[in-house]
């Protein structure tokens, strides 16, 4: 009758691992999640090897230079400004489009997502060419804020839709005004979503090179890039990269703390009653002006500039090239998004469903590659593939692997949030009805989380489309994406020639962005 072998005494270690109430994470999740985490940790390994090449003392010397600290301060300062501005833009637009009677709410929601489609280096270029005096901190902050606020808008809008309106109503019945209610009751509940968005923004700012280099604001990444220009000594770049990873780890740990005990699925059955939208009344006009101004700056302005370039273009462009670059871009971005999403799923499920230390460690390690500049990720994969996977070198799979390393957290965050939306009891019931963990994942978890996972895939697709440094290093020889063509054209000084590529990037990325915005 008994299905297992002879009874044996469990070791104390094994017994302590399976404390009451904690479900053991099934291997079918642990194995792929571990693989994903290891992949994400590759750049860290590479940085370690390179940073220590000349010993600890040398590495420490570089890390502790006054200039290093100054740049770190500048990077963190920029990140703080951009995060704060993104929170203001993202939360205000989310609240206006989800909770008020703002006219054209759905259109504004889509417009608030569209900046995702504009590569930040393109946006930076349009700003700087229009107003050269913005160079430096103001330009960098403006560009990055308008490029990044959708990362806050999307999760916060989703969270706003999930909050039970009864709580807000209770607060208002106790005499709190609309604003007070928002600050005291709504805002605290938005904290996990806002923090999740904020961390993506902060890491984007820390790892971005394109826009800070165009707006001429000296940051940590610029120092890393200049270091690579030295070519023969990769140690300084690696040491600086290590400092950046350390910053990332600290930021991610801080974000994890804001999650606290919150964030689990709503217990009520069915869907929450849709909230009664707040009447804006005489505030309608200012609210519309605000949304209009943000959209104009973040979407309208770069598009108009691009349009202008398209019309003045003197150096003709090759439609066949544009087409082949488009096909290549869609191919790599689709494959990259698919693989990233598939690998993110087990990590996201583990992090949503298992609160053990292993799950947390796995989730945190996927962030390792996200704050490292693309060039470092690219060189790390060159380093490892040349040594251990030579047949993959300069082949599509390696490029896909780089995208996974760079953007896993984007997909993991979406998968995690999506899985948290459905109560875990559904999975337990499915198992009690005879389904193995893998089949539960396939038949219950994934179908229920599908919209959120799909949104994550769309977002990943968009960010991969815009990626340049790692693509340059790892693409199969002769393959051109829209981003690399854009780079070539601007390198040759042909901004008019570059415009069609930039325009196609924006148009292509606008489709998934539009779908993301429609959802919200």
């Amino acid at each position: 009758m008994s299905t297992h072998g002879s009874p044996s005494v469990r070791t104390p270690a094994a017994a302590s691992r399976v404390a009451a109430g904690v479900r053991r994470a099934p291997l079918v999740l642990l194995l792929p999640a571990t693989a994903a985490a290891l992949l994400a940790l590759l750049p860290l390994g590479y940085l370690g090897v390179r940073a220590m090449e000349h010993g600890w003392a040398h590495a420490w010397e570089i890390a502790s230079e006054a200039r290093t600290l100054e740049l770190l301060g500048r990077s963190l300062g920029l990140a703080a400004i951009v995060v704060a501005a993104c929170l203001v833009l993202g939360v205000s637009l989310a609240w206006l489009t989800v909770r008020t009677t703002l006219p054209g709410r759905r259109i504004w929601a889509v417009l608030a997502t569209l900046p995702l489609a504009v590569p930040s280096y393109v946006a930076a270029f349009t700003w700087i060419s229009a107003a050269p005096s913005l160079a430096g901190l103001p330009g960098a902050a403006i560009t990055l804020t308008f490029a990044c606020f959708p990362y806050v808008f999307l999760p916060v809008a989703a969270a706003l839709r999930g909050i039970d309106p009864a709580q807000e109503e209770a607060a208002r019945s106790l005499g709190g005004g609309a604003l007070r209610t928002f600050v005291r009751v709504t805002l605290p509940q938005l904290r996990p979503a806002a923090a999740g968005g904020a961390i993506l923004v902060a890491l984007y700012v820390l790892s971005d090179f394109g826009s800070v280099s165009i707006t001429r604001y000296d940051t940590f990444t610029r120092a890393i890039h200049s270091s690579y220009q030295a070519s023969f000594d990769r140690t300084p770049a690696a040491v600086l990269g290590c400092v950046l990873v350390t910053m990332t780890v600290l930021l991610v740990l801080a974000e994890n703390r804001t999650r606290g005990r919150a964030g689990h699925a709503r217990t009520g059955r069915g869907s929450a009653r849709p909230p009664v939208p707040l009447r804006l009344g005489r505030w309608t006009a200012p609210a519309l002006a605000w949304c209009g101004a943000v959209s104009a700056a973040a979407v309208g302005f770069p598009l108009v500039t691009l349009g202008y370039w398209l019309t003045v273009g003197s150096s003709g462009f090759d439609p066949e090239r544009l087409w082949s670059a488009t096909v290549a871009t869609v191919t790599v971005a689709a494959a990259g998004a698919a693989v990233t999403t598939v690998l993110a799923l087990p990590v996201g499920v583990l992090s949503a469903r298992h609160r053990g230390r292993a799950a947390r460690l796995l989730e945190q390690s996927v962030w390792a590659g996200h704050a490292v500049p693309g060039i470092t990720v690219g060189l790390a994969l060159v380093f490892f593939s040349v040594r251990y996977a030579y047949p993959l070198y300069q082949e599509l799979p390696l490029l896909i692997a780089a995208y996974v390393v760079l953007y896993l957290p984007v997909a993991v965050a979406s998968a995690r949030a999506a899985v948290l939306q459905s109560p875990p009891v559904l999975e337990e019931v499915a198992r009690s009805l005879g389904r193995s963990p893998l089949r539960v994942l396939r038949e219950i978890t994934v179908p229920l989380a599908a919209p959120g996972i799909g949104a994550g895939a769309a977002l990943t697709f968009v960010v991969i489309m815009k990626e340049l440094p790692a693509t340059l290093l790892l693409r199969p020889t002769g393959t051109d994406t829209l981003a690399t063509r854009l780079w070539t054209e601007t390198g040759a000084g042909a901004f008019a020639g570059a415009a069609p590529y930039a325009a196609v990037i924006v148009l292509l990325a606008a489709i998934p962005s539009y779908l993301l915005g429609r959802r919200s």
Binding site: T3, H4, V9, A20, R23, R269, L426, V429, R431
Partner: protein
């Protein structure tokens, strides 16, 4: 054959906080048993151990003669044959009612599956609802589908986790007896986990009261109510009047006078007697009444009323249940008469 046997199961959180502390429980085949306890007593952990979602530190779980948890043995949930009816139904929102019910019917042909699904839906009174989606059903209907889904694969055991919690009280009683009838008809062994004593007493053949991770008393609802194992069980299972008492033979002296005991005290001495409010009757406040007091509160329930009477020598007001409208008001003097024997619990230690 035994349906479920749980032996000496121990389970603890992280740093040695014991949630289950050597718990024993037996449910005979085909019976509906209830596990009753306040929140935090360990009932949820017990349920998860039985279903296979938690691994106990020690002890054994035997289902239909097969050890599913024990030293070196852990059968995963999907191979235990334990059906679950969760608090709020937990129907799969993306599947129709029929697909929900058929979910556990793997390994059988399509026709057989359809037949069994129809049969189960008929059993819970929802024939013809197969094509609906879960959100199109009321809370009570969702619970019925959840039960049909759990019963469909003919599980060795059905676990019902506070299944009526989220329902209106008007619906509860009806659904409770329907569930009971369905379980009976299916011949299933079932374990109902609840903190609601009324639910446990009215639904189950047998009730185990749990406190601090242990079963403190197990028996039929009648036994539990009439002969609670200790004053705590007495006040947890139904309303109780607890009085300090000095026992001698088969009588005890209390603030309500000398009372007959259900069983002679093993040794004379101090202790507590338990009475049920319906054993107390109001009497005219005359000299003949064994005890007198002042009415402090009248709680009117329609079919009956509870009257709290402050008796000078009792530590707390005693509760008297009267049927029909109460003839007294707060502030009135009243006499109290006791009918039937009291249960005596000697002072511990």
């Amino acid at each position: 054959m035994t349906g479920l046997r749980v032996t000496a199961v121990t389970s603890s959180y992280g740093r040695g906080v014991r949630v289950l502390d050597g718990l024993d429980l037996t449910v005979p085949d085909g019976e509906l048993a209830a596990v009753l306890g306040p929140s935090g007593c360990g009932k949820t952990t017990l349920l998860r151990v039985i279903a296979g979602f938690a691994v106990p530190d020690a002890g054994e779980v035997v289902l239909g003669g097969r050890t599913v948890s024990g030293p070196g043995v852990h059968v995963p949930p999907e191979r235990r044959g334990v059906g679950i009816v969760a608090q709020e139904g937990a129907l799969f929102p993306h599947l129709s009612v029929a697909r929900n019910v058929a979910f556990g019917l793997t390994g059988s042909g399509r026709a057989e599956r359809r037949a069994r699904t129809g049969e189960m839906l008929e059993l819970v009174g929802l024939g013809g609802y197969g094509e609906r989606m879960p959100h199109e059903l009321s809370g009570g209907q969702q619970q019925r589908v959840a039960l049909a889904r759990a019963l469909a694969p003919r599980p060795a055991l059905v676990l019902l986790d506070e299944p009526f919690n989220a329902l209106d009280s008007a619906l509860r009683a009806g659904l409770r007896s329907d569930v009971r009838a369905a379980l009976r008809a299916a011949g299933a062994t079932a374990l109902l986990v609840t903190h609601d004593q009324e639910e446990a007493l009215s639904a189950a053949d047998r009730v185990a009261v749990i406190r601090d991770g242990k079963v403190v008393q197990s028996g039929t609802p009648q036994e539990l109510y009439a002969r609670p194992a200790d004053p705590w069980v007495a006040s947890f299972v139904g309303d109780a009047v607890l009085l300090a008492a000095t026992a001698e033979g088969d009588r005890a002296t209390t603030a309500l006078g000398s009372l007959a005991l259900t069983a002679p005290a093993s040794a004379p001495g101090e202790g507590t007697v338990v009475l049920r409010p319906e054993q107390l009757n109001l009497a005219p406040a005359t000299e003949e009444a064994p005890a007198r007091g002042r009415v402090t509160e009248v709680r009117y329930h329609g079919h009956d009323a509870l009257i709290l009477v402050d008796v000078p020598t009792a530590a707390a007001p005693v509760t008297v249940r009267t049927t029909g409208s109460a003839a007294v008001r707060a502030g009135d003097e009243t006499g109290i008469r006791v009918t039937g024997p009291a249960v005596f619990h000697p002072k511990a230690g």
